[in-house]
Symmetry: none
Subunit: 220 residues, 4 copies
DNA sequence: GGATAACCGAGACGGTACGTCCGGTCTTACC
DNA sequence: GGTAAGACCGGACGTACCGTCTCGGTTATCC
């Protein structure tokens, strides 16, 4: 389940081509046939690989799936090293959450991600790995953006950024996993707005009141 | 998957004892052996029932699990018909979320609930049923409490109560499902506080404002 | 491995069609692909049957093979209930041994019989069954013929008939199994003659000559 | 499968130590775990040898086994270069067959020999090799002893010695391979006596009695 | 109140996948 | 170039369950 860089001194005679074929096959298969019908045998067949080659290197179906995501993540590394930071926190967060919504709705990722979540929920070891390798780095980027906003005085100074991240992405992911409702851009916006302002009524203040007043005028 | 009351006009010759035995067996088994090793055959054996009796009445393993929860829910109906309403919204919500945390941490419910969530995430039909029969009623109670607070001016007047519910329970459930961190009472409290106040700095009025003013002086 | 006659009170819900299909497939397969490549999986596939159905009723590949022969034997029961008894022991034995030679040389039986012998040689339990159900009855028929000859004074009075049977068929079977030489009708004849007369030189005697003389007259 | 003496001009870089380790391991393993569970991998592991080294030098598992016997035979060469020849054919044969019985009953040789026979019965090429290298020389020794008896007039002059050998050892080997009955010294004796005298009644005659009488005189 | 039909337990059945073992080939690093 | 080590593709093992299908044996209702 480790991801050996060939540059390391490791003397493993592992076949890199097989490894990639397996991860690709796993990802494609789960998206085609769904989690319930995903089988090691199927993955091996699709990858043109002996079953033993899978069992030799991964302890479980979930671990394969996890590595498949890891491979994907590494490929798209460097793409965007960080959340957008235009200075407008609300807009930036809305943009990011809308992107998340789109990804979750994307049929290429929907099933695979549900599958990964299922594995994680039933396997603490895998969950730890997930926290370390996938969720962790992502969460760090999110917290960076929030920290920047916090420094700019746009977020409460005593805010626990982990809680903040949960507050923003938790509702979204939960609605997606439990299928409690449709995942739309509007919903993402609502989450951001409500999370930022809180559930309590906000006494309008100078600047803010003005801003809102303006908008009410512009879009009655 | 229907839950026939025998008092209804239904002319089903269904054996109520078998039905209960199956649901009980399913719930107990999933909690003992885990989701991955839960099998229809195991349920039938434990319930002392023929496999066909399960296949006759339920379309899937998930449906059995769902009904098991439904049975549980009905048993504890009337227990508390509504969330506590002491007038102190924050305290009431903290109490409820702490209770949720305890339930999710309870080894009797942890695995079964994860299993149910897994089934729901992979089966839209089941998810719809879940929304209608289990989540729906629960959510209604939550919204009632929030509505009451809203009427009392403790919540924003234009607040979307569904979003509010998501904002409060979403982070909790997501952290639990993804095992992103420990579920503690403190965490529940943080969620409630942060959700109510929002992520943005609150210009406290009167005393609060002073505090912020002070801080601004201290850390310019 | 038992061979249930449906007439028995047995309440087994065993599928007779599957049973026959399995035995037929096993026999045909071993003769087509050879013992080394005979697999339970192959038998199941050829018989159109689940593997479990084989494992449910037979403890080993050898047991299936054994039952296949048993089925064959039962089909050809009644065909010849006993060895030929023309009064001419030597001729009768030669006829029977020549028939055995032909059977062993028959490509339809060669491989299957080698396979059965292999299983027997490595599995005492199977060997016991073989002795009881297949070899036993056959051997009884052979001994009957010899007994008849013994009563007619054509065989030594103190002859152990089991040894006699071994003496006649043992060399043949051994040469076949060990491939020590070709199995021909001539070889069968040699065995019979040598076994009857013994290895020692025989002085011709009155009586014997007479007997032969008489027969030469009766059947020129 | 060849058995290269290093003294030969062969320029093979073959590792003699590995060769012996493999043959020894094969022999020991088959006797410990039985023919069915004998595997190339197991042999390689036990011999501390790479699998390839086996595949490089032997075409099949049976060939390894065969060579293992060959090695054994060569070690005990010179031991007894010929069957005992006391002049008393019957006694000599009984002694030899009893020795054979003991060898077949010896747990050290039983399984290995059954295994070799199995390989031979299913592999004509191996059988040819067996006939040439193992059975052939042995048979020649047997025939020598019989020839000697034949010259002494103790065996029929027109006797086919190959048939005679089969007549003596065939019943024994067949009973052993097919497990038709226990292999005892008594059984060996019966075979010898019956084979020598034949199945037919023997009218004792002057000459024979004389012969015996004479012998009693010569070797009291 | 006897017929009859749906339901029940049991479990055999044709299948699919499991996780393991081994066959035979190929590669790597050593000697 | 032979060797120990062992990864690799593939095929079979024996087991566990799937979902379907009989099989007798209760019920429970309807004639």
């Amino acid at each position: 389940m480790t991801t050996p860089r060939k540059s390391l001194s490791s003397t493993t005679r592992r076949n890199e081509a097989s490894r990639r074929a397996i991860l690709t096959a796993a990802f494609e298969l789960v998206q085609e046939v769904g989690y319930a019908k995903l089988s090691i045998e199927g993955i091996a067949a699709r990858a043109g690989v002996g079953k033993q080659t899978i069992y030799r290197w991964w302890p479980s179906k979930g671990a394969v799936l996890f590595d498949a995501f890891l491979m994907l993540a590494e490929q798209s590394d460097g793409e965007g090293t960080g959340l957008p930071d235009t200075g407008d926190l609300e807009a930036d967060l809305k943009a990011v959450l809308r992107a998340t919504v789109e990804e979750l709705n994307d049929p290429r990722y929907d099933e695979p991600m549900r599958a990964l979540n299922t594995e994680i929920t039933h396997d603490p070891a895998l969950a730890a790995l997930y926290a370390e390798r996938l969720d962790g780095p992502m969460r760090e980027l999110k917290k960076q953006r929030l920290r920047s906003a916090q420094r700019a005085g746009q977020l409460a100074g005593d805010l626990d950024l982990d809680v903040a991240v949960d507050m923003l992405w938790g509702p979204l992911l939960n609605r997606w996993l439990q299928r409690t409702g449709a995942l739309t851009a509007d919903y993402a916006d609502s989450i951001v707005e409500t999370a930022l302002n809180g559930l309590r009524p906000r006494r309008r203040m100078a600047g803010q009141a003005t801003e809102n007043a303006e908008r009410r005028i512009l879009r009655p």
